[in-house]
């Protein structure tokens, strides 16, 4: 079995190795490095690359990766797992989406792939990560967290040919009812889309809430679904659980708040919307109603702002469009 090496994590045979991948330097000159876990099974098989916290405050993904790896028995594994639970480590420490060291150009790591060796901090991070991903990954799973604890949806690259077919089979094995076959021209710079163009099937999972909306129940559910993906791609034995028909969308709509104020949501994730459905209520400082947020489009709620406060321009709701059972 060939030696597997990512950063300081090195694995010569069956088992699990831990180490760090350097993605940049801190302002005090110490290395900015992110945790890496490698697992090699007793039998040959594909390489599954899983990462979390591409956005620093989306911690559910880290917990999912951690639990999956803690509960993994490499004696029953076919193939290899490369797991990076916390990509955007400096953002994670700040409990923020983006790194505090990113000066200009936004800092959204999931718009920076494949990265740039001499670009901004976030581009250099993306480059360090994606170079390894491209070299090793047979399949990619990218774990995200949204705003509220009830978020449950997934998207896969609807690429032509085998990449799209394999991505769809991962999404069906994962089995969230709300699933978007993502048009290949959206989410430019995301790890999933860049990998799909490089021939690597992938899946983005959006599950659970940030900060104090974090719940342990979510972690167990997602880990079990990931194991089902691993059965589907031949890394674990056992029957692949069938989740039945899913609800597919044509695309999604991000809807921004054009009003600010105190806010209470009126819908739950997974709920059907019509154009004009009340999404939530705005109030002024005295508690008087100042407006209703109405859905501009029909579809299914993928994510909804939890309140309690909103500034104009924040993401009010994320809608899956043209739902159909497939």
């Amino acid at each position: 079995m060939a030696t597997l090496r990512i950063g300081t994590a090195v694995l010569d045979g069956t088992g699990i190795a831990r180490g760090y991948l350097k993605v940049g330097d801190m302002p005090d000159g110490r290395p900015m490095q992110i945790p890496v876990l490698l697992a090699q099974g007793a039998r040959p098989g594909p390489t599954l690359w899983i990462h979390g916290c591409v956005h620093g405050n989306e911690a559910c993904g880290a917990f999912v990766v951690h639990r999956l790896m803690r509960e993994l028995d490499t004696a029953t594994l076919s193939g290899t797992i490369v797991a990076l639970p916390i990509l955007n480590i400096t953002a994670f420490r700040s409990k923020a989406r983006m790194s505090p060291f990113e000066g200009f150009s936004g800092g959204d790591l999931n718009r920076a792939f494949p990265g740039k060796a001499d670009g901004t901090l976030t581009e250099q991070m993306a480059h360090a990560i994606y170079t390894e991903l491209k070299a090793h990954a047979g399949y990619l799973v990218d774990l995200h967290t949204a705003m509220t604890a009830d978020v449950r949806w997934a998207l896969f690259p609807n690429a032509p040919g085998e990449v799209g077919q394999k991505s769809e089979s991962m999404a069906r094995a994962f089995g969230f009812n709300s699933t978007l076959p993502a048009p290949i021209d959206i989410l430019a710079g995301s790890a999933m889309m860049v990998a799909a163009r490089d021939g690597i099937p992938g899946l983005i999972v959006e599950a659970g809430g940030k900060g104090p909306a974090f719940t342990a129940a979510l972690v167990s559910d997602v880990v079990e679904r990931l194991r089902n993906v691993m059965r589907q791609i031949g890394m674990l034995t056992g029957t692949v659980a069938q989740h039945g028909p899913l609800t597919y969308f044509s695309n999604f709509a991000w809807v921004r708040a054009v009003q600010g104020g105190l806010f209470q949501r009126a819908v739950q994730c997974g709920e059907r919307l019509k154009a004009g459905t009340v999404l939530g209520h705005y109030y002024d400082l005295w508690g008087q109603p100042t407006g209703e947020a109405l859905s501009p489009q029909a579809g299914v709620v993928l994510a909804i702002h939890p309140g309690p406060i909103m500034a104009s321009g924040e993401t009010l709701v994320h809608i899956g469009l043209d739902p159909r059972e497939v």
Binding site: H66, R70, I89, T148, G209, Q264, L285, G287, P306, P308
Partner: protein, 330 residues
């Protein structure tokens, strides 16, 4: 009790007769010279009765209180009210706008507004805010309730000023009418600088409520429950006509213990609010960057969980768990 002829004036809100008056109280200035003002609502009832003063968001990110106060105000009919409600739902407005506990204008360790009462007109930003808020509170309030929010949606506890004599008895009366099972008769030597203790020393019966979770842990159920409990306090005080609900025996504590984290890491809690813990009960697990469980945290005290850190990430010194000590049913 404010005589019916007295005008109640808090900032620009001036309540002379029956009905609702809204205005703003200036509590300071921003660095660009604009006034920092906070919302005030005064509801003056048709009947005679006490002045109930209600505050929210003394810590800027504790929004459940603002929503509870708002919900109660929206359902309050001045013609069926006896007495006066003075509500300041968002005290620490510059902190609230940022969704954080303390004001960005706070200086040098004076950031916790609930440690600055009765305030100081020549003090730091937060001292001056406290002074602007506390002066009319002391002038008008017969009873005082201060609403807080903790970390997780399941937080439900209260504490009242266990002052000697009438103030303590009346404080206990409003705590029992609010009726959260976990209730601390707060020793008068803790929470120095809180508005509750400052008010109790000035003879005003007082209660602090801790309900619900901050940020994305915000839930409407907490708001509806809190507003109904608040109405029950108003029934108990004779401000609303209906008979108050009896909540039965509560669990009292001798004091509370704040336990701070002595290590950092990813964190998963193992207990819920209201749960009994013994010394040594598992309260949560620290997880390293690679997913190893690096420590199982045990409770250093026996008692009841008042608040618990929800994770997902913790640095050393964060509040790990808040425990009510020596629980007893009364």
């Amino acid at each position: 009790m404010a005589p019916a002829t007295t005008v109640i004036r808090v900032g620009t809100a001036e309540a002379a007769g029956v009905g609702v008056t809204r205005g703003e109280l200036r509590v300071g200035d921003t660095p660009d010279g604009e006034a920092v003002t906070i919302p005030v609502a005064i509801v003056r009832g048709a009947g005679e009765g006490p002045v109930l003063w209600i505050n929210g968001c003394v810590h800027g990110d504790e929004f459940c209180g603002a929503f509870i106060i708002h919900e109660m105000l929206r359902t309050l009919d001045a013609t069926s009210l006896s007495g006066v409600v003075v509500a300041l739902p968002i005290l620490n407005i510059t902190a609230s706008q940022r969704g954080q506990r303390m004001s960005p204008f706070a200086t040098f360790g004076f950031g916790d507004l609930n440690r600055c009462f009765p305030g100081n007109p020549g003090g730091a930003f937060t001292d001056q805010m406290a002074h602007a808020i506390y002066s009319p509170l002391r002038q008008y309030a017969d009873y005082f309730i201060d609403f807080h929010t903790a970390l997780t949606p399941d937080t439900r506890w209260a504490l009242f000023a266990n002052a000697p004599g009438d103030v303590g008895r009346k404080s206990e009366g409003i705590a029992r009418a609010f009726g959260l099972k976990s209730t601390l008769p707060a020793p008068m030597d803790i929470l120095g600088g809180s508005s509750m203790i400052a008010a109790a020393r000035d003879g005003i019966p007082s209660l602090i409520v801790e309900m619900g979770g901050i940020g994305p842990a915000f839930e409407r159920e907490t708001v509806l429950e809190g507003a109904e409990r608040l109405r029950n306090v108003m029934r108990h005080l004779g401000m609303l006509a209906e008979k108050p609900t009896e909540h039965g025996p509560l669990t009292y504590f001798s004091n509370f213990a704040w336990v701070n984290a002595t290590r950092g890491g990813l964190f998963e809690r193992a207990v819920q609010c209201g749960e009994r813990v013994d010394k040594g009960t598992l309260v949560g697990r620290y997880i390293g960057a690679h997913g190893d469980i690096v420590e199982e945290v045990k409770s250093p005290h026996a008692g009841i969980v008042l608040a618990i850190n929800p994770g997902p990430a913790m640095a050393t010194g964060d509040v790990l768990v808040h425990i009510g000590l020596d629980p007893r049913d009364t």
